[in-house]
Amino acid sequence: MSNSKILANGVDVYYGSKQALFGISMDIKEKEVTALIGPSGCGKSTFLRCINRMNDLIEICKVSGSIKVDNEEIISEKTDVVSLRSKIGMVFQKPNPFPKSIFDNVAYGPTIHGLVDSKNDLEEIVHSSLKKAGLFDEVKDRLNEPGTSLSGGQQQRLCIARAIAVNPEIILMDEPCSALDPIATAIIEELIDDLRLNYTIIIVTHSMQQAARVSQKTCFFHLGELIETGETNKIFTNPDNTKTQDYITGRFG
């Protein structure tokens, strides 16, 4: 299909001699939210880290197979990892602001990627990123305070602003709400829905309800295999696979 943003084909991942992913193939469309669900240890984070080549940082990790982003192979020696990562923002389970000011947290990416020419440009990017992340109004008077002084939910939105600031096309989120209360979670979910208009989003979540609320496609992983993938509505009302059914209804997987 023409509007595939990410196309994985037969992706295997090993940590040393232990295989963590088995022949994962997936077609992720542009400007959709795809949820990855599955029991702990099934390989969701591992797959997410393949997409921005973060597994490179784990010495024993070996990735093979093919992943194309915008039709370009990224599992290759020749891949320009820096430019790939500038296309892809990532948000982690635990909000991890740098030990710097709120402003600098967001300014960091655009600065090192050389996206700005002037101080005015930078301010513009920081403000608009904070606005898109739905945080600006809460922090506009304290941009010089440390990012770590914010609440957990605010820190997570700061991390989203930081991810957006480099103008990525894809945002990867690994359990972004697991440390947040229901209100902060609702705000992030609303934000994801807004971001969908401009970004392709992949989110790992342990909350079935969250996956059902925010995503259009859902992929169910089990023991390193992709068991079922389909329209979110279908997966949560009438999945095809018994394992998917057992998992999402709270039975033994």
Binding site: T237, D246, T249
Partner: protein, 236 residues
Amino acid sequence: MKQEGHIVKSYDEEIRDIKNNIVDMGSLVENQLKDSLQCLKDKDTEFAEKIIENDNVIDKAYNTLDQSLVEILGKRQPMAADLRTIFSAIKINKDLERIGDHATNIAKRVAVAEIVLPEKPSRDIINMGAQVNIMISEVIKAFLEFSDQAAKKVWLMDRQIDEEYLGILRQLLTYMMEEPKRITACTSLLYMVKDLERIGDYVQNIAEDIYYAVSGEPLFDGNPDPTWEAILPKKK
């Protein structure tokens, strides 16, 4: 799809309770209809009063079950087959309550009928009622067995009911035309036969809900297959 038990055992118990309560609701309305038909047969107005009183029991059972279904939705946030089961149970419970109302209506007509009801159509109505009651008990059985095929079978039984309905209707019209002083009595019977016809429709709704809960597919998806088309009653 074969189902294991839930990791949370109390969830299994709650679902089991729901199923038992639906079955109980089913027995209540089945009895209500059986009693109403008996009281029509005996023209027993005293019994009719008791039956009318008994509708409160059905309403109460409906409310209690409805409440626990809302609670389970909120507490467990069911997914997939569980979601479909709970959602169907909500609708089935409501339809059973409505069936109870229609069954009670028959007793109400008997209670106010001071006139002699014509023999033949009364007997036909009682027979039709007995068939409707079999549908109720079969549809509850389909729910208990969680069988889409059994539900489909019950759905088809309504075809017969609709035919009976039209037959009795014609019969009553003839009676009324022949002898206008029977109009009051025949009107009472007309209402009763309509009540039974409606009950048949509610049983069909329930069969559709069961079919969906089990299979995840609607009984009709807008493209009814030709074998269905052939056996369906013609549009009136």
